[in-house]
Amino acid sequence: MTPEQALIPEASRRADTAYLDFVEGIREFVLNERDGLDHDIDQLFAALEQRRGKAYASYDEVAEVMDRTAVGPLRNRLMRTQQEMQWRRIVATLEPKRAALEAELTSYEERGPGELLLDPAFQTPDYANVHFHLQPGGYHKDTLAGYLYHYSTKVFFRGLNDSDAIHKGAAKPTPVPADGQVNRILDLGCSIGQSTTALKEKFPQAAVWGIDHSAPMLRYAHRRSVSLDIDVNFAQRLAEDNGFPDGHFDLVYSMILFHEIPTRIAEEVVQEVARVLRPGGLFVAHDFVSSNNSTPLQLYHREFDCRYNGEPYAQQFCHSDFQGMMERAGLKLQRRIGDGYGFMNTWWAER
């Protein structure tokens, strides 16, 4: 067992572990790249496109096929059900441990390495008041939100991220500024800090800060990084108002944050990134592929995700001009690559 695996929350009962393992199995059934339901749907559209000699480029066109064949509603039903099953059981299995887990978070607060800066006067913005991915209480209302989220992302990634492999894999190719200097790094919307620790492993000499609006996520992130003995810092700050001095960072990083904020805020976040980056510093963002690069199924799934899976801003982001935001903030896009497990793009921009 890896140190990261050892930190995944444990269910209270073996039956709950098995039940959640089944939910992971349902996700595998749908999402498996080689022989999942989605693979069949991709093939269905490939065949249709071949026959009519034209791509399915709009949601409406795709939805017409998906609804007419009942494939879409059935897939939606299954995906919504597995998500509901997941949360019901994760909440139920962690509830008996609530007092112990809260005590655990408290006992780690004063421990190092790394600092944890919480802001008792913090006001959560309205737009963040969403049950993202149907998580009860969203990211910030339940004191155990970090535990709930960690268990659910284990299921979400179907075991592929049990040792943070996805966060480490994304951090690994992170480019460095032209002068090679990376002394300070900021991770935006760090959640439970899996990118934050991966960045520290990649740049051991750098001081790394992860920020998030959610105190429960940050307390869990700190508990986790302390247990892993990785020296990173966490602070309760907004990505659009991070409180760090101008030109402070060599690298600002964000992983799947932008699709969870309204476009208006995304614009502000990019401006703030430009403010805290030093000249020559880099902004690296991993996030959802934009709509004009999406497969028919991705177009369909995104609408499901927004409407039925608590992702109200994903459509806005995927239709937004992210590159334009960077240009308006004075950042120069260096490269954009689309790799990311079929659903992510990576943007590198220079201040």
């Binding site: 073996r14 039956a15 098995a18 039940y19 393992d21 089944f22 939910v23 199995g25 349902i26 009942a70 509603p73 059935l74 939606n76 039903r77 299954l78 919504r80 059900t81 597995q82 099953m85 309205d126 737009y127 008041n129 969403v130 049950h131 149907l134 009860p136 309204p262 476009t263 208006r264 609408e303 927004c306 409407r307 039925y308 608590g310 992702e311 109200p312 801003y313 994903a314 459509q315 806005q316």
Partner: protein, 115 residues
């Protein structure tokens, strides 16, 4: 597609400029009965897997410890006290798998009474 009713859990929300979120328990198939059936089948399969997982572990542990052989399991006759326990467990399983049907009734009751 209908958005279903809004309960206490995942409240329907329309944050700024966002896609309106469905409320609790949206019905996603054209026919609510089929929608309920698919939920039931999924829940049922989960229960089946939970049981199978437990049984596999149990049998392996017992056989490894030399406590039983497969034949002992096949030929076991439970005493009355255990039978009651098994019946309670069975009823709980049926409840858990078939609760969707009760939801259809509850929804119909709300709709009919609202007329």
């Amino acid at each position: 597609m209908s958005d279903g009713q809004s309960g206490d859990g995942y409240r329907a929300q329309t944050p700024e400029g966002g896609v309106p979120l469905a409320g609790d328990d949206p019905i996603l198939l054209p026919d609510p009965a089929t929608d309920a059936l698919l939920r039931m089948v999924t829940e049922l399969t989960a229960e089946l897997w939970v049981e199978r997982d437990r049984r596999m572990v149990l049998e392996d542990v017992l056989v490894d410890a030399g406590v039983i052989s497969s034949a002992t399991l096949e030929n076991y006759v439970p005493p009355e006290s255990r039978r009651q326990h098994y019946r309670d467990e069975r009823d709980a399983l049926v409840q858990s798998v078939f609760k969707e049907l009760r939801r259809v009734v509850a929804t119909a009751a709300v709709r009919e009474n609202g007329r």
